[in-house]
């Protein structure tokens, strides 16, 4: 099975009128692989992520995803119902701001259980047991299950968002700056957790980040974007230790040393 990629992206472009969002991006993503997309703000990282996750339609190009039955389906030719079904079962999307990915006015347990109910789970006891299990996996105390995420700290919210996304056992997770806005110690724990989950569950992930340290910790492969184009891509260690493109060299040398 793993001799075929999970996602094939070919010549993907998105233009906002005459402005470039992302231009001619192609890559393959393999099962269990974490791909980091790095670059400064405005470089088209988020546009690319939104197009890949079908939250936005590209101007041109194709992306095909290998469904659970092994067949490749072209994402932009699927019906909206199929795309939305994919998004809440086989995919996850972790937003930078947890408030965008959570329902802030329902309890943590219901946030985790929503996807289960969406795919037809109708047994309260089982839904709750699964929610308890997932909260413990993302290190949230069990007695917080009936609290609303409004009462949670930033780090807890982000962990809850991750649990909510992973509960249906997705194969591909999109993350948009998952550690943005968190202080360094919380960031470190979250990265540790994410790394553990990704390895345990064999998840494939596309992580958009401007933080090269996050990319180094999480990803095996990375793409560096500038002005909507991919300027360099390769194994994360290679790109960070031996950057070839002038822009990547600039980026790597701009990391603040403590």
């Amino acid at each position: 099975m793993t001799d075929e990629p999970l996602l094939r992206v070919s010549a993907l472009s998105k233009f906002y009128g005459s402005r470039v969002g992302c231009d001619n991006v192609s890559f393959d993503l393999w099962p269990g692989e974490v791909l980091a997309v790095v670059g400064e703000s405005g470089s088209g990282k988020t546009t690319l992520l939104n197009c890949l996750s079908t939250r936005m339609l590209p101007s041109s190009g194709t992306a095909s995803y290998r469904m659970r039955d092994g067949q490749f389906r072209e994402l932009y030719r699927m019906s909206e119902a199929e795309r939305r079904f994919l998004m809440r079962t086989d995919w996850g999307f972790v937003h930078q701001n947890p408030a965008d990915g959570l329902r802030m006015t329902v309890s943590a347990g219901a946030n985790v259980g929503e996807r289960l109910m969406a795919v037809g789970d109708r047994h309260y006891g089982k839904i709750r047991a699964t929610a308890v299990d997932w909260l413990s996996r993302v290190e949230i105390e069990q007695d917080r299950i009936d609290d609303e995420p409004r009462a949670f700290s930033g780090g807890m919210r982000q962990r809850l968002q991750i649990a909510r996304n992973l509960v249906t056992g997705p194969r591909l997770v999109f993350m948009d700056e998952p550690t943005g806005g968190l202080d360094v110690s919380v960031q470190a724990r979250l990265l540790d957790l994410l790394r553990g989950l990704v390895t345990d569950l064999g998840l494939a992930a596309i992580v958009v980040t401007h933080d090269l340290a996050v990319a180094r910790l999480l990803s095996q492969r990375m793409m560096v974007m500038k002005d909507g184009r991919v300027v360099e891509s390769g194994l994360t260690d290679r790109v960070l230790d031996d950057p070839r493109a002038p822009y990547t060299q600039l980026l790597v040398s701009s990391i603040l040393q403590v």
Partner: protein
């Protein structure tokens, strides 16, 4: 009623009635689907039944007999005013007797007396969208209905059980119509939900402020949503009606004094009066026999 000529029959102009009838027909064709319609200004404030009145005005004919209830009662302001309104603008016969009415406009109750084929129940609906408080974007909720994405509805029920140990929603309890659309049955108590299931009467729902009409045709499946381990249950009362001793009916609590005195009485006043005429007596029933309001003749 000499000034009848100053109104078109049943107040609305014929074009408006045709537009509303088209929406009603579409609603009947797609049970539970909210059909947008061009709701008109009515001579009453929003929230007082403008939607129900427009539906009634569009379907009523000179031979119809109209009953209007508000929370089950025929004698409250809203019910009396709407009955008087149609008496004036349509010159139709009105009644409080459930069995002899052909159209029953209701706010928040379904009569206790079983409805029969040929009767039409018109609901006044404040908020037609069952997903409103879960998903505020109307563009999104319409999409969710279109794609049959109803997981969110169960999130609400989950929250109830998590907070209260049981499904605490007691009115506007969401139902699934004919296995397809999730529908808000208007704020009727969930006690009335089973009455909607395969009812021989046509049920029409009008939301004036929200400009939506939806319908449940006769003999349509209406199933209340629930969990396997927390099945749907209706309210039960541990005492019968204090006036007519009826059991298995929906009761209202009436405060009698400032010292905690209270009684539970039928919310359906017609049902209660009928039973008392038949000689049923509750423990707080007055000794004098109540003369119930008879059918008012057309003028």
């Amino acid at each position: 009623m000499t000034d009848i000529a100053t109104y078109n029959f049943a107040y609305l102009d014929e074009q408006t009635k045709r537009m509303i009838r088209r929406a009603i027909l579409k609603g009947i064709a797609i049970p539970g689907y909210q059909v947008p319609f061009a709701s008109r200004e009515m001579p009453m404030p929003y929230g007082w039944g403008t939607g129900g009145v427009q539906v009634t005005a569009s379907i009523i004919g000179p031979d119809d007999v109209l009953k209007v209830i508000d929370q089950g009662a025929d004698d409250t302001t809203n019910a009396v005013s709407i009955r008087a309104f149609f008496k004036k603008v349509a010159n139709v016969a009105v009644t409080t007797d459930t069995a002899s009415a052909t159209i029953i406009q209701t706010r928040h109750r379904i009569p206790e007396h079983p409805l029969t084929a040929g009767q039409v129940l018109v609901y006044q609906v404040p908020i037609p969208e069952p997903l409103r408080f879960l998903e505020p974007r109307e563009t999104e909720t319409r999409k969710m209905h279109a794609l049959e994405e109803y997981g969110l509805m169960h999130v609400k029920l989950y929250e109830d059980i998590a907070k209260h140990g049981r499904i605490a929603t007691t009115y506007a309890y969401p139902v699934k119509v004919e296995g397809r659309y999730v529908m808000d049955p208007s704020p009727t108590p969930k006690f009335d939900n089973p009455k909607m299931h395969r009812s021989p009467a046509l049920q029409l729902f009008g939301a004036g402020r929200e400009k939506r009409i939806y319908a449940v045709p006769p003999f349509t499946d209406v199933v209340s949503l629930d969990f396997e381990d927390h099945p749907f249950e209706v309210q039960t009362f541990d005492q019968p009606c204090a006036l007519c001793a009826a059991e298995n009916v929906y009761l209202d609590e009436v405060i009698l004094d400032d010292h905690g005195g209270h009684m539970f009485v039928c919310s359906d006043t017609d049902h209660c009066e009928k039973r008392r005429e038949e000689g049923h007596r509750g423990h707080l029933a007055p000794e004098i026999h109540l003369a119930s309001e008879k059918m008012e003749p057309a003028q």
